[in-house]
Each structure stands twice: as C-alpha cells, then as structure tokens.
Amino acid sequence: MAINQDTILRVAHLARLQVSEQDCEETTSRLNDILSMVDQLQQADVGDIAPMAHPLDVHQPLRQDIITETDIRAEVMPIAPAQEDNCYLVPRVIE
C-alpha cells in the first residue's frame, strides 16, 4: 500500500500539523518506506492468533470512586491566552 501527497496533507490537516510543500515530498516518501515495511509484516500468517490489546499480560487497575482532586483553577487558568468569568476563551466555534 502506498500513499500520495494528498493523503499526507489530509492527515496533517486532521491532526492539525503543518507540513510545508517542500517537506511534503520527503514525508510522503519516508512514510511509504514505513508502509512497505508494514506490508512485509502483513505477509506473516497470523490467522490463528487473536489480536493483542497490550504486549504484556497485565490489566487495568481500577480506582475507588473517591474525590481526590482539588480545585486548581487559580494555578492553571493563567496559562491560557484568554479567560473570563472562570471560563477559557477561544475563537467562536459555532457557525
């Protein structure tokens, strides 16, 4: 499977990554190298093996439902570029 520059630009847009035109060609070729390695892996016969969700045989520890966090607004809110009435301000998002 090979991808072209259009796919690179589309994925970059979805991930909000900036890929310049001159980088696009190189990125496409490097990603295609990776994909050809994946193609090689795909040739292994894994028909009898269940997909693995995690490489180690461990599972998620669970937390008790008890409040442990405190209000940290005063420390974190000033990091944002704009805030008002205890809200973070962003460019208007609704059409």
Partner: protein, 481 residues
C-alpha cells in the same frame, strides 16, 4: 408512494459516580466553571488516567438489566478530533471491545402492543466539556467541569419504525437506568441525551435509505418533534427526485426547525487506535455475578409486582412503576394509608396534576408521601370528604402544616353528627318550601336533577363539611315525608 421510516438511537447516559471516569475530580453539577477540572481532565502532558471502578460496575449493571453479554475483556481507544471542549484532542472511548455486548429492551406502546428493540452494544466513554456561546463578546467560553464525566453510550439496532416507538424506547431506557441507580435521569441537565438516526425507504424495499443523525435531543417531546420533522423533510426531498445526504443535523426546539451541522466524517477520519495509556479491562465472572445479585428491581418486574400486590390496573401500574422515585413515593403512601387503590388515584391524579402544573419532579413534591398518606387516612375514617381532602392537599402543598393541623386549624372536620345535620336539613327544606313541594310533585326522572339542588344547598350551609352519605340519606327521608 408509501414510505416506511427506520429509526435507530444512540443514547448517552451520564453515570452518577462521585468522580470522573479517569480522575478523582468531583462530578457534582452546578459548581463554579472549571473548578472541577484536574490536570488529567485538562489533558496535561505527563498525566495518566486511572479507570473508576464504579463507572465499570454501573456499565455492567446496565448490561445485566438488558440481558446483554458482558464482555470479560474490554479495551479503550482514542477517537481523535479537534474541538475546544475536548482538551486532549481525543475522546477516550471504546470501539472494537465495548464492555456491554448485544442485548434486548422490550417496549410497550399505547395500544398495548409489545416490541423488542435490539441493543447493538453499550460502551464506556468520557464526556466532553461545555462550550458557551453567549455573553463572551464574539468568543466562546469553555467550562471543563463536565470533561471526563463517565458516560455509557447505548447503541440500538435500527428496529424502530415510528416516533412513538422511539419515544417509548427512550422512556424505557430512562426508566431502566434510573431504576438500577446508575443515572439521576435529569434530562434538562443533559444526564440523558439522544441522537436519532432516521432514514426512509419505499414500503417493501429491503435496502436501508441514507440516514441522517439529529444530535443531542434532551427531551422526549423534542425527540418526537425532531423525528416527525426529519421524516417529512426526507420524504419531500425524495419525492421531488432529490437524494438524502448523510449528515448531522441540529434541532432547534424554539423554532421547531432543524439544519445540517456538518457532513458526517467517515469513521476513518477519527483515526481510532487503542489508547496506550490504558490497559485492557478485565472483569471476572465472580464480579459479574456479585453485580447480578445486587441488581435492583427492574421496571418490568416492579410493574408486574404492583399489579399483583396492589391489584392496580396495567395503566396505573405503568405510571407508578416506570419511575423509581414515583414508585417509592407511591409505596410510602400505601404504607401510611393502607389503601393501594386510593393511593394510586391520588398520586396519579391530584398530585401528578399539581406537580405537572408546577413543573416539579416527585422528589421535589411539597407534599410528602407521609402527608398524602395521612390525608387518605382521614378520608377513609370519614374525618373529611374527598372534596375537603383536595383542600387539605392544597394547604399542605402551600406549607400550611400537616394534614391534621390543617383540618384542625381550618375547622374542616366533616359534620357527621346526625342531630346537627338533621336540623340543617329541616331548616333548608323550610327555607325552600316551594322547591320541596315541586320535588314531591315531580316524577322519578325529574327528581334526580332536583335532588342535586338540595345537596348543593346543604353543602353550602356546611361549607362543604357535611358527610355526603348522611346528607343524601337525610334529604331523601325528609323530602319524601
């Protein structure tokens, strides 16, 4: 042309845990904006989510309630998209391995017809924050208190074919999740939100038409209207030779209109992948069995019990058993009043009407179950008539004291002293001698109507406090003498 509607629902249910699904932040509603958003909820680098056991248990309880397969191994994935109320840039959710597999929800329609609606699966995920578009002079305000609140998303098969069925299904889910205590059921607070997938096809056609999704409906009434609107729109488009675009639509309850929000991105655009921060979730058979043992009474079981135990009609049982708070209130009234039929009549009648008119839930009823039970006790022991009982209820509603206090303070005790009543009736007949004579001269049919006049006068003379049976008997005797 004969059209057929196909409807499927996706329902988001906020789980009523104390803390968020992946952090120890409070989920309390109504706190100051952003005061309940921890570093994990804010998606800060270097933080790790830890799954809340209660959220898992509540999801499993739902699965057990709908007879679904509980998946002993489930896993979380990242659904990637950018929106300001999603600070991590992805929603942690389940896709390939949801915790709850296929199940069944039975609905009952107004005509008594029953139908099984298949549940495709239900999965655990986190809620996003809230975007506020008013009062920020051209900007949007973001409140992340809700970010990370645990949700289950219940996905139905497209088994519904009318808005009535869709609403019955939504009501049934509401009844189940509140009955098993996993959700507070406050629709106006967004505790349950419905996305409705609608498509139409020609009758007899096998293939499904292109569907649209109307998102975030948070009332049964809006849901019914939104479906009707969308079905009509799709039929109009198709009959004019057009085609339906797969899109997400937004319903505006104020104008009763809907508009396209964005064309639905195909699933690939979300670039799902297993969340590397979270390990697979394992639940043991023993844990599932312990939850099964702890499963509270389900609405259907309760309805059957109400019919059996209290000899209620199916209709009354439906009204009382569907909502857990309503059911608890009713049973408390029965305990107090020791009369299920009267308790059912008063709870579904007078009280329900008052609650409706004031837009109140039964949990917020100004009249407690004990008070209503006491009113019924006084009605049964003939202290008050049913007309006066309504007055007592009103006074209790207005906070004027307990039923006995109200009856005492307002002198509402029924007059059952036959000597005193007899005097009043004698006086009444003397004062209305002409009418009394006319009554005696009248034939049986006319008498019935005329009799009402004397009852009315007697009630007037006693300010409604006369025992109606006694008054009737006395009047009958005296008028025919």
């Amino acid at each position: 042309m004969q059209w057929e509607t196909v409807i499927g629902l996706e329902v988001h249910v906020q789980l009523n845990t104390q803390t968020k699904i992946f952090s120890g932040s409070s989920t309390q509603v109504g706190a100051e904006a952003n005061s309940q958003a921890s570093l994990i909820d804010l998606g800060m680098p270097g933080t790790l989510p830890v799954l809340n056991r209660e959220a898992v248990n509540k999801a499993i309880l739902f699965g057990l309630a709908i007879n679904a397969d509980i998946n002993r191994h489930s896993a979380f994935e990242r659904k990637n998209y950018f929106y300001p109320d999603l600070p991590k840039g992805y929603q942690t959710t389940q896709l390939e391995h949801p915790i709850v597999g296929a199940g069944i929800v039975e609905i009952e329609l107004a005509d008594g017809r029953k139908k099984n609606v298949r549940i495709h699966h239900a999965h655990l995920e986190e809620d996003a924050g809230k975007s506020l578009h008013e009062d920020f002079h051209g900007m949007s305000g973001i409140d992340l208190n809700r970010a990370g609140t645990p949700l289950i998303e219940i996905v139905s098969e497209p088994d519904l074919s009318t808005s009535e069925e869709a609403v019955a299904f939504a009501r049934k889910l509401h009844s189940i999740v509140t009955s098993i205590g996993i959700c507070d059921g406050e629709m106006s607070q967004g505790s349950l939100r419905f996305d409705v997938n609608v498509s139409v096809r020609l009758k007899g056609e096998e293939k499904l038409g292109t569907r649209t999704e109307t998102k975030n409906l948070n009332s049964f009434k809006f849901m019914e209207r939104a479906i009707a609107l969308e079905v009509e729109r799709q039929i109009d488009v198709l009959e004019d030779g057009g085609t339906i675009t797969q899109e997400t639509r937004l319903f505006d309850a104020d104008t009763n209109t809907a508009r396209a929000m964005r064309s639905k991105e195909d699933a690939n655009d979300y670039r799902y992948f297993p969340c590397p921060d979270l390990l697979p979730v394992n639940v043991s058979e023993a844990e599932i069995e312990a939850l099964r043992d702890a499963l509270p009474e389900l609405p259907d079981t309760r309805k059957a019990r109400f019919i059996e135990q209290y000899s209620l009609s199916s209709y009354d049982a439906d009204m009382l058993a569907g909502d857990l708070n309503m059911a608890n209130y009713f049973e408390a009234v029965v305990t107090q009043a020791n009369d299920a039929k009267l308790a059912a009549n008063w709870v579904t009648g007078e009280l329900a009407a008052r609650l409706n008119a004031s837009d109140l839930n039964i949990q917020n009823s100004p009249v407690s179950a004990t008070d209503l039970g006491q009113i019924i006790v006084r009605l049964k022991d003939d202290t008050i008539s049913s007309k006066i009982a309504k007055q007592v209820l009103e006074a209790c509603w207005n906070g004027e004291g307990s039923p006995d206090q109200v009856i005492e303070a307002k002198g509402l005790k029924q007059m059952s002293d036959s000597g005193e009543l007899e005097k009043i009736v004698d006086q009444l007949i003397a004062d209305n001698a002409t009418q009394a004579q006319a009554y005696r001269d009248a034939d049986e049919n006319k008498r019935k109507k005329m009799f009402g006049f004397f009852v009315g006068q007697a009630m007037k003379a006693t300010q409604g406090k006369a025992n109606p049976q006694q008054i009737n008997a006395l009047l009958e005797k005296k008028l025919t003498q």
